[in-house]
């Protein structure tokens, strides 16, 4: 059994502008990249469940082979730095994604 966190070289979150949050998962080999891509475990539904959001709040899930990575962009509940925001840079919102079991 391997989690996404164990397979990734980089697993991070960050603002993409003040209204969106982007999650990057990068791998250090083609093999791992393909395994995750082909596992079918990273879907819009997975993200909705992990982040408690609806399908239309998921902007993209895009696998990009040249960078051996996948990018997931979602809408923020509260814009960066305004009342109720908990993470101005969005830099610690990756934790829910870590425990997705890939294989």
């Amino acid at each position: 059994m391997a989690t996404l966190f164990e397979m990734a070289k980089v697993l991070r979150s960050k603002n993409s502008g003040p209204f969106e949050l982007t999650l990057d998962v990068l791998f250090d080999s083609h093999e791992k990249f393909q395994k995750v891509r082909d596992s079918g475990k990273l879907t819009v539904q997975t993200i909705c469940n992990l982040y408690n959001i609806s399908e239309k709040e998921v902007r993209h899930i895009v696998f990009f082979e040249p960078a051996l990575g996948v990018k997931i962009t979602i809408l923020r509940d509260v814009s960066s730095g305004s009342v109720g925001d908990r993470d101005v840079y969005g830099a610690q919102q990756h934790a829910p994604l870590m425990n997705v079991i890939i294989e």
């Binding site: 993409s16 990057d24 990068l26 051996l68 990018k71 730095g81 305004s82 908990r86 934790a95 829910p96």
Partner: protein, 449 residues
């Protein structure tokens, strides 16, 4: 032989600092430009709303001193993007004042170009009425006249065009208001007739300093070299190196899409890019495509004041209190609201952030709490500062002495690290404008000094 154009990026944010040795290694390469990004929306709406910076004047001067005293005598153009943190008038003026101080102290004379990025409220109101202003994502409210009028200092992200014009006019130092982060870098390549796709893609990488290297950091220098059909990047510090993966991965950074980037007036398509290691820590990138858009859209940014905040930070170590913490916090709030019955309930909000438990993720936290200590951030948001202060004071004392069941530590519930415990934060802002506006003419004025 093809002509190589070299761009030195000292660090990812002016005022973050960088090793002088890395920067001087870059100077030895005889760069055609020194370009540094000084702004971002990352740190929230406060900078734009309040007209302040998030780096200190001291650190900004320290960084600029080494850049100016090395660049100016060698006649290397120096470009500062998004000056002062958010690139509005106050931010640009703050930066110019520091630059002038350094020039005077070092007896340097320059031709300085200042490119303003402020957009008048009237022109936004007018464009909005014509349907030329639209939100960037579905969670952004459409603009109204009222929102625009309540917004402090609207800026727009400039493209390379006004910066290119300043370079053509022979400016030694170009201080830009808000710019699309890669634009000041791209302007150097485009000025030297290099491909705009390569110039912008390189700019996207260089604007973060050495973050594209391994180990990555925004606090170190990096060099970009544009050729005819490709560009390369290399670290200027022997402790870092660029690899195919580190550079390709950086293309991902803080963008919503991995290979389609939207800039002022264009789209950058990186889907066909090739990343290749040349050895000795140098990585070559090719096939970055610049596609001009039919309509020229600029990104507007603006912030408005929405409330006032007062907060208090305290530690909790008592196991009985920790066991029932969230429930007790609800009861503390209820008691405060009962005490202040005469104040309309919507005039203030009381929020508890339980650090150690779920403060970072809130309702998205799935781990079960099993710790022995929690840091509580008690935040009060009020419609004015006096109200926030008063509610915070009452909430703090209510929480401190709250007599919950089974309690053994009857002398007090909270460990305050400081006296006084309550911190008056001041106004809280929000990004009220984050929209695309269609323009016909370049709205960025250039001033030469």
């Amino acid at each position: 032989m093809e002509r190589e154009i070299k761009i030195l990026s000292p660090c990812g944010m002016l005022g973050y600092g960088f090793p002088a040795s890395s920067f001087l290694n870059g100077i030895k390469e005889q760069p055609h430009g020194i370009v540094v990004d000084a702004g971002s929306t990352d740190a929230g709406p406060h900078k734009l709303g309040a007209g302040v910076s998030i780096v200190s004047r001291r650190a900004t001067k320290k960084d600029l001193e080494i850049i100016l005293t090395n660049g100016v005598p060698r006649k290397i153009p120096i470009i500062i993007g998004s000056a002062g943190g958010a690139g509005a008038r106050q931010h640009v003026e703050w930066t110019i004042e520091i630059i002038e101080e350094i020039l005077k102290e070092n007896n340097l004379n320059v031709k300085m170009a200042v490119i303003w990025a402020d957009i008048s409220r009237d022109s936004v109101i007018k464009a909005n009425l014509q349907g030329k202003v639209n939100p960037l994502s579905p969670n952004i409210k459409p603009l109204t006249k009222r929102i625009i009028e309540e917004t402090n200092g609207i800026v727009a992200q400039m493209g390379h065009e006004p910066i290119l014009e300043a370079l053509e006019q022979g400016a030694d130092i170009i201080v830009c208001g808000r710019a699309y982060d890669p634009s000041p870098f791209a302007a150097i390549g485009i000025f030297h007739k290099k491909d705009p796709g390569l110039s912008y893609h390189l700019g996207k990488i260089l604007e973060c300093g050495a973050l594209c290297a391994e180990p990555g950091t925004t606090k170190d220098s990096i060099l970009g070299i544009i050729k005819d059909d490709s560009f390369t990047v290399k670290s200027l510090n022997p402790i870092r190196t660029c690899t195919q993966i580190s550079v390709a991965a950086h293309t991902f950074y803080e963008k919503e899409h991995p290979f389609i980037l939207h800039g002022p007036g264009f789209t950058l398509d990186l889907s066909e890019c090739e990343f290749k290691e040349l050895g000795e820590g140098e990585v070559q990138v090719s096939n970055s495509k610049y596609i001009p858009n039919e309509k020229y859209l600029i990104k507007l940014e603006g912030a408005r004041e929405v409330a006032y905040r007062t907060f208090v930070m305290a530690g909790i170590r008592d196991p009985i209190l920790l066991e029932n913490l969230e429930e007790i916090e609800e009861r503390v709030e209820a008691q405060v609201r009962e005490y202040y019955q005469e104040i309309p309930s919507e005039d203030y909000h009381i929020n508890f952030y339980n650090y150690g438990m779920n403060a970072v993720l809130g309702s998205k936290e799935t781990e079960i709490f099993s710790g022995h200590e929690v840091g509580v951030l008690l935040e009060v948001i009020g419609k004015n500062q006096e109200l926030a202060n008063s509610i915070c004071s009452t909430a703090r004392s209510t929480f401190l002495h709250f007599g919950h069941e089974k309690r053994k530590s009857t002398a007090g519930n909270l460990a305050f690290p400081f006296a006084p415990s309550d911190i008056e934060f001041g106004p809280v802002y929000e990004f009220s404008v984050y929209h695309l506006m269609e323009i016909d003419d370049n709205p960025f004025d250039i001033e030469y000094r």
